[in-house]
Symmetry: C2
């Protein structure tokens, strides 16, 4: 009995699992984390109306969700100021990024991103046989000019940009993005990941017409709306592109409670405003805690703060390891020189109290280690 016959591309993919969740780390260390501040989840949670909507809908889970997302789609179209023909809704930005790569990247096609930017995008590009070209960050920001120049140089099918960016929390103005768009080569699609846009200053989202064929932008309910576990996101783009997603997407893949909850969350702008204030307070508190340890933080337009540990990547990795061992779940950038930082998500006062107690100890441990 032989097994199935895998294509060369599949055989070439690494069989290691690329992403480790905090639950795996908790099992490894044999204890739950005391503070969950590593995945940029929104610990302040979703609107109580979203929670209630999901609870009310729970007994109806025997029904498939509407594959056209009719009500949520109408609300999102109004929210984004475009027609529903410009929006595709999917099970998180990860899924929509995967669809985008599948729609455009054939084996050998060039794709451009920043070195150290979102690894799940890279995972999809590799998974479909695309060839990744990476440009370095510049002053801890994604380098717009370098991304566009590289895209032209390698004739990229896609160029990925997160704004605000993960893992540093930095951002470009919408005007700068619009200017960069003029440098985008013909036939290259800008994949603009706006997962954190609600946390950013006014003017960070570029004014781009929904029918601009050069850009597809991604928004999510995972961050500001506090629904990472629901898996609801959407992409906005030109009608032709949005139609193409329908050719390949899993039409019935949305969880029914997620669909209902997202609609309720979108309608509760008061809760969103409150969350944004709480996140702002938390970011100031993280900066204060870092400052008390003699460390500086980067300005952030997201719900997390990059703390510069003041030395090299090995030192920051030691700080991170000490925090993890002490029950504080945080993460850090993969690539130098950004890896001099650790990345801490906004938490409640009780979470940040644990950080305030653990960070000096972790620094001392790293210095002595």
């Amino acid at each position: 009995m032989t097994g199935p016959r895998y294509p060369a591309l599949i055989k070439s993919l690494p069989s290691t699992v690329p992403f480790v969740g905090p639950e795996v780390q908790e099992r490894q260390r044999g204890a739950p984390f005391r503070a969950r501040l590593g995945a940029n989840e929104n610990i302040f949670g979703p609107s109580p109306f979203a929670v209630a909507a999901m609870q009310d809908e729970a007994a109806d889970i025997w029904k498939y969700a509407d594959p056209t997302h009719h009500e949520l789609m109408a609300a999102l179209a109004a929210h984004m100021g475009c027609g529903p023909g410009h929006i595709v809704i999917g099970e998180g930005i990860d899924t929509l990024l995967g669809y985008t790569v599948r729609l455009l990247v054939e084996p050998g096609d060039a794709v451009v991103t920043s070195d150290g930017a979102y690894p799940t995008f890279n995972f999809h590009v590799a998974g479909y046989g695309g060839v990744l070209h990476k440009v370095p960050f510049k002053d801890d920001k994604e380098d717009l000019e370098a991304l566009m120049a590289k895209a032209a140089e390698v004739d990229a099918k896609l160029v990925y940009l997160s704004n605000p960016d993960n893992p540093m929390g930095t951002w470009h103005s919408g005007a700068a993005i619009k200017d960069a768009l003029e440098l985008l080569p013909e036939g290259t699609l800008l994949v603009l990941d706006e997962a954190y846009i609600e946390f950013a200053p006014h003017g960070t989202a570029p004014q781009i017409a929904a029918d601009d064929p050069r850009v597809v932008r991604f928004r999510t309910f995972s961050k500001a709306y506090g629904m990472a576990g629901a898996r609801v996101a959407y992409a906005v783009g030109a009608r032709d592109l949005i139609t193409a997603y329908d050719k390949i997407r899993n039409h019935f893949a949305m969880n029914r409670l997620a669909q209902t909850g997202a609609l309720a969350a979108l309608q509760d702008s008061e809760w969103l405003e409150q969350v944004l204030r709480l996140v702002e307070d938390a970011k100031q508190e993280i900066t204060r805690i870092a400052g008390d340890c003699g460390l500086r933080t980067l300005p952030s337009a997201t719900n997390f703060v990059a703390i510069n540990c003041g030395r090299d990547g090995d030192f920051a990795r030691s700080v991170l390891a000490a925090l993890i061992a002490d029950g504080v779940f945080v993460r850090m950038p993969f690539v130098a020189p950004q890896d001099r930082c650790i990345r801490v998500s906004a938490g409640r006062p009780e979470d940040l109290k644990i950080l305030a107690e653990a960070l000096p100890k972790a620094l001392a441990s790293a210095k002595s280690g």
Copy 2:
């Protein structure tokens, strides 16, 4: 400004949306359905413990779900009598079928299925450029010998078999499946869709070792467990194959409430037994209702019944259209001669009362039309 550059395969895919949900039909007819009996949903719903578990977890939706599905995985491994290394959990069988096709089918590769079998599988095969070869049903059952012979003839990468089958509700014994497996060509993987297996007589699931490299089998929480809107399913197969899914799956794509609810549902075998009895009663009632109209039904090992409308496909389509117009959501097979039937999902007494009232009228309308 030009748009993005699509590969030839993507350009070749139809831009029509292949699957119409009942909500779309409701909006088209301007009124909700009076009875929802068309999508083989389990109207008796999930275990109350599953509902409660999802409600209790709703406020924690800000957390991503555990990407390893640790607790659910352990419970499923115990349930299936295999190690967790033999199971991959995904967002519905549709998603897992898509992954399976992606793992094995390159453009031009041959895939075999039955003419009129599950269209979503065909959608994925087309979407990855596979070439579908279809064999006809035989006596309203998927034809095991013909499927295996065709697989050998075309050197298929995959052969799809649903047991019990959709849309007819017929089935083969596990022993017959095992015998057919001996005819499976080397290098062909049997995609065994057991979505309805819990409804089937004892012995319908073949005894196949989890590490048999010739087969991957699919199970779901959408049917007997009453959680179609949750999107939780799993595949069981050899360790190498299961590892391969990890190379491409969206690791963080599971809804957190779905994960929690599925675990609770799996643990409530009492509820499952009760649902199976209610479904059995409903199927008998559908047979009685059809009989009162002078129609025969096919024996069914699923939660639906195929009613033979007694004439050709055009006649059955007229009956179906009349039922839809009268507010009864049902569906029917696509392909002759199976399309002499309409397909009715098991419903509660109040749903079937509406069917009992609507079916004679629909038949009269079709006869006069």
